[in-house]
Symmetry: C2
Subunit: 412 residues, 2 copies
């Protein structure tokens, strides 16, 4: 572990301990210290949230409404059905879904209001049936975030950083403890999420710098690719964008286009920095491209190739995939309907992006008739004996005796 990592880990550990011990007092102290803002109340009251609607223009409201419909549609389609199976006659097994009751949604602050983060976390939570949504976001809180939160009927707390994660994980006098914590954040927020995960509080996914891989053949359109790579590069200075192509001409034209398009960007400096972490590779065949892509396990994968559908089944490690020339990554960031909370840094090998399922849990049930019990009794007893657990076997035999005493015919 690097010394910087160790330092960050220690600081976050202190923040978490402090919030656990002192609750709101610690949260307010840390908000003053890190955000430079004195907050009297941690929660923003509903009237303030409600009146934020006046500060959001019509065009933005319409865009939010349109995005809500698409995101909702895609997540409603994911509502799972429970299952019910008789594994053996008389042995009925079920699996049912229950929403998480209270979920914590972290919405980062910073230069711009991350409206889309609030939508991508809040809509599936509502579709899943979570009964309480807790939004934490650092002050000052943008009216657009308040507006979206009021659409979601979420409670909003004006706190950010590791202290917000700690507060939601363990609860304070005013901030309720949640069942799971979602959302991106800076290095301290991420470290806090990993530390609370180690205490058994579930998190959505480990977060890291965002990334995009574009794979292309000679049918790709370089200025589209350039625009997509830049849209990822402008996120933050440690984003990474990668282009893999079977065509040297496409690579060269794309690099040229990047230089042209970058000039006009307001976040040119950020994009430039993240291009420093980035690269382009020429390879010989699409199968080899797919192989590299699966090894890299990109958060976002654009398949700018002639027949992307032919190869989509071979993509095994990726967060979200964008097929063809008319599917820029930015549609997934806002409004196609898929979730934009995705595994980065190779985590797509082991983790899924946020989906409806992230807000649900399962319970299994079983119900045996006397004859069902009879049917599996010797299996259970033999295995219990092999594991030397007598009482497990007794729980079966005591019931079999009862059945025998009552005359089998009457009960079975």
């Amino acid at each position: 572990m690097s010394r910087i990592q160790r330092l960050k880990e220690g600081r976050v550990r202190e923040i978490i301990e402090l919030v656990k011990a002192e609750g709101d007092r610690a949260v307010k102290f840390l908000t003053k210290k890190f955000d430079g803002i004195d907050i009297e109340q941690t929660e923003i009251n509903k009237e303030v949230s409600g009146s934020s609607s006046n500060q959001v223009n019509r065009q933005l409201k319409d865009a939010i409404a349109a995005a809500v419909i698409n995101i909702e549609r895609f997540h409603v389609a994911q509502l799972p059905k429970g299952i019910e199976v008789d594994t053996v006659p008389g042995v009925r097994c079920k699996l049912v879904y229950r929403p998480l009751k209270r979920v914590g949604l972290y919405v980062p602050g910073g230069t711009a209001p991350l409206i889309s983060t609030a939508l991508m976390l809040g809509i599936p939570a509502r579709v899943a049936g979570c009964s309480e949504l807790i939004v934490c976001t650092p002050p000052p809180v943008n009216p657009a975030i308040l507006y979206v939160s009021s659409l979601l009927n979420a409670r909003v707390f004006r706190i950010g950083g590791a202290q917000a994660i700690a507060a939601m994980a363990f609860g304070t006098q005013t901030i309720p403890q949640v069942n799971k914590i979602f959302g991106p954040g800076n290095a301290y927020v991420t470290e806090a999420k990993m530390q609370i995960a180690a205490a058994g509080i579930p998190i959505d996914i480990p977060a890291g710098p965002s990334e995009l891989l574009v794979i292309s053949d000679e049918t790709a359109i370089p200025k589209f690719i350039a625009a997509d790579l830049l849209s990822q590069a402008e996120h933050c200075p440690d984003s990474q964008v990668v282009l893999i192509s079977t065509s040297t001409a496409i690579i060269n034209e794309t690099l040229n286009e990047i230089n042209i398009q970058m000039e006009k960007l307001s976040r040119k400096l950020t994009a430039q920095k993240s291009l420093g972490n980035s690269f382009a590779i020429k390879v010989d065949s699409i199968p080899r491209v797919i192989e590299i892509s699966n090894t890299y396990a990109p958060e976002h994968l654009i398949m700018a190739i002639e027949n992307p559908n032919e190869f989509e089944n071979e993509i095994v490690n990726a967060g979200s995939v964008f097929l063809g020339n008319f599917t820029p990554e930015s549609v997934g960031d806002y409004a196609s309907g898929t979730n934009h909370t995705l595994p980065t840094s190779g985590f797509a090998k082991s983790w899924s992006g946020v989906s409806l399922n992230s807000f649900l849990k399962t319970i299994t049930l079983q119900e045996l008739t006397p004859s069902g019990l009879y049917n599996i009794s010797s299996t259970v007893t033999t295995l219990a004996n092999a594991e030397r657990l007598d009482a497990h076997a007794n729980a079966i035999s005591i019931r079999l005796n009862y059945i025998n005493n009552r005359s089998k015919n009457e009960i079975l």
Copy 2:
């Protein structure tokens, strides 16, 4: 944090660092130190595993075969279908499932071979389509575990403890790095799982001492309840069993039955100790019983009441539920088909038990036609501008310009 917890945390951290740094050398050293066994090779070769079949008797093989069928049936029924939705005309979104490639299954050692643990983790992994199963279990390895592992076509490593978790999480010269780690274990194994979870390696569930809650009305049969409570109590000294009943008579008779049945148990001392952590409560009504149950969030819940189906939808926090008088918990431990790897210690409020889904991940895909892009373009552009991400908006406008230049009619 208690000093004992801090000590354990520090020791496990050292073990993990050592295994990361030294690989097999560390694993062998720690196996000698903790298990007192010199291992030349970490892996048990396939011939040895194969020949273990001779050391497992026919009756046990038959019981294993019967359990496999039921567990397989219940987990096959969970195979999810992907979804495909046009959220807007021309905007197709999909969600597809992919198996985790390589999974690590920890099977504890100790007084008896935990055959059922190997089945409950290995079968869903195979049904999900995971291509590599890695079993770690401390030496000496029981033939029954080798037999089950060979049925599962799993590779078996004769290592246990925190060092096994570290080895699977980060890989060594001989032990491959896995995508997710499953399985119960002692306090050091659990601590190691939580620490590697903090490094972003997914785990099944945080584990704690096992527990059973029995809820009953006057229709329950006290000797059945007593047998069930004891079957949980014999697991380990820190297990907890709880009885909640609307009937004082049922409580008294059950306590009496416990004393009678306990006498004959080979694990009487263990059961006695865990009964020390246990209690019975008399309450007035079934709704109140359900309320307490949901607050307690038991790993196992037996509903020994007249009409359990009437109340099953009200159970929101539980691992697995056993309905009626003829459904002892031990059927779920071995052979009803449900998974026995379940959230303990109140974690059922936030976590699910192991299911087929635990071995799968999801990827989303989207594919837009030019007219689909046109349909959501203003939504994406407005939101991107509100978040001040120019390049995100450019990725849309550059395509719209292209479409316009090519004459809309030709492309849309």
